[in-house]
């Protein structure tokens, strides 16, 4: 799992870690049922305090994105809303492909819908 943080930024590091993991769960980079690295390992890789990572994991648990189980660590649970959005996007992409609509046009359409 790849995480990029900026300790000099205004938002707290634990929120940055949680945000990075949230994005990866939403895009499917981290699959449902996958186990997040042990807090100790992630903290070591980033050179941050283990409590910072634990706080990020608790944040994710409070949002219902992961389950914290003793002995098993943090496990990603499927969030139905994220799954639904991903399915809808996959469907839209398939439709666009079938109709020969280029990706740029599809992205413009998505943006228009999102902002309307």
């Amino acid at each position: 799992m790849f995480v990029l943080i900026d300790p000099t930024a205004t938002s707290p590091v634990f929120a940055q870690i949680a945000g990075s993991i949230t994005t990866q769960i939403a895009t499917g980079t981290i699959a449902t049922g996958a186990r997040l690295p042990a807090a100790r390992e992630l903290a070591d890789s980033l050179g941050v305090n283990v409590h910072t990572v634990l706080r990020a994991y608790q944040e994710l648990r409070d949002e219902g994105q992961v389950e914290l189980r003793r002995g098993r660590g943090a496990v990603v649970v499927g969030t139905p809303t994220a799954d639904r959005v991903r399915d809808a996007v996959a469907k839209a992409a398939a439709e666009a492909k079938a109709a020969g609509i280029p990706i740029g046009t599809l992205l413009v359409l998505v943006r228009k819908e999102y902002e309307s």
């Binding site: 990029l4 690295p37 992630l42 050179g47």
Partner: protein, 327 residues
């Protein structure tokens, strides 16, 4: 005599011929001779020689012996050769082993023992002769097989990440032995330990060394079943889930990192934790659980570590970011 070097396709083709088709032909011909001579004689042959006398058995004992050793050996080695992605390292001497084993069993123990069955020189002559022929066959195979042109040494360094000042990139991954493999080994060890306990109960405590091998086996498998790999500003760490064994490359010692195509047999002579002198001649550690793309991390002194983690490209990019940054 300089060895020919050829491209992968012809190296693979000749290796398959030497490891499968030629030994297969030898086994089939040996079977035909054993069956022809044995069935032709129509009587029992000597199947066991000992100081006191000898045992006889039906002539087809030898046919079964030739088939039951020949085909599995060819199948086993052929399986590895067919899956090899590079005819180098251990892959390049496996055809010679297939040839040697086949010649010894098919010609020495099979044909030789049948043809010289009643001779006073049996079983020494067939076995010794078979052994000499096997060594010659193996050496010839080793000498005559063309070598695959060596893969370009040195790894393709990953492109470092566009990390801005103040930002920190980290990567974590895991490396696991295949579940079925762990299951098989733990089952074998468990069965051996249970048998050992039974033996202790029946025969008394003096047989305790029987536990050494299965316990060692269990310890090794537990220690190497899972590795955690981290890459970040502090450098690179590969650590067993138990904490030991572990390998560390501090960021200050990082020269470069990249993705390499790993063929366990060709590059490390097998799976698990391995050490080879490597193409750089500086020493190359491997934590190898599968073939395919892996991460290679090179120290400033040229020593390196290869781990077969998934997403090795991201890990290499993270490490490259911290390798290039002036300390």
């Amino acid at each position: 005599m300089t060895r020919r070097t050829v491209d992968h396709r012809s190296a693979r083709r000749t290796a398959l011929i030497a490891a499968i088709w030629v030994p297969l032909a030898i086994v089939v011909v040996a079977l035909a001779v054993v069956i022809a001579v044995g069935a032709g004689s129509g009587r029992d042959l000597i199947v066991g020689w000992s100081a006191g006398g000898h045992r006889t058995g039906p002539w087809w004992t030898y046919a079964v012996l030739v088939a039951a050793t020949g085909f599995p050996v060819i199948g086993f080695i052929g399986f590895f050769i067919a899956r090899a992605t590079r005819m180098a390292g251990a892959n390049s001497w496996m055809p010679a082993i297939a040839m040697g084993l086949t010649v010894f069993h098919a010609l020495g123990m099979g044909v030789g023992s049948v043809l010289l069955n009643a001779s006073p020189l049996a079983p020494t002559l067939p076995l010794a002769g078979g052994f000499v022929l096997a060594v010659v066959g193996a050496l010839l195979t080793w000498r005559l097989l063309p070598r695959e042109a060596a893969a370009p040494t040195g790894i393709e360094p990953a492109v470092s990440l566009p990390v801005r000042p103040g930002e920190v990139a980290g990567w974590t991954g895991t490396l696991e032995l295949p579940g079925w493999f762990v299951a098989v080994v733990t089952t074998v060890a468990a069965v051996l330990i249970v048998l050992g306990v039974l033996r202790l109960l029946l025969a008394g405590p003096h047989g305790w060394p029987i536990f050494l091998a299965p316990t060692l086996l269990l310890t090794v498998i537990v220690a190497t079943a899972q590795f955690v790999v981290t890459a970040g500003p502090r450098g690179f760490v590969v650590r067993s889930a138990l904490g030991w064994p572990r390998f560390t490359v501090p960021a200050a010692d990082l020269a470069t990192a990249g993705v390499v195509a790993v063929d366990p047999m060709a590059d490390f002579g097998g799976w698990g934790i391995r050490w080879v002198i490597g193409p750089s001649r500086k020493g190359r550690w491997g934590v190898v659980t599968r073939r395919g793309p892996g991460l290679e991390v090179v120290r400033r002194d040229g020593r390196s570590i290869v781990v077969t983690v998934d997403d090795a490209g991201t890990a290499a990019a993270v490490l490259e970011t911290y390798a290039r940054r002036p300390a």
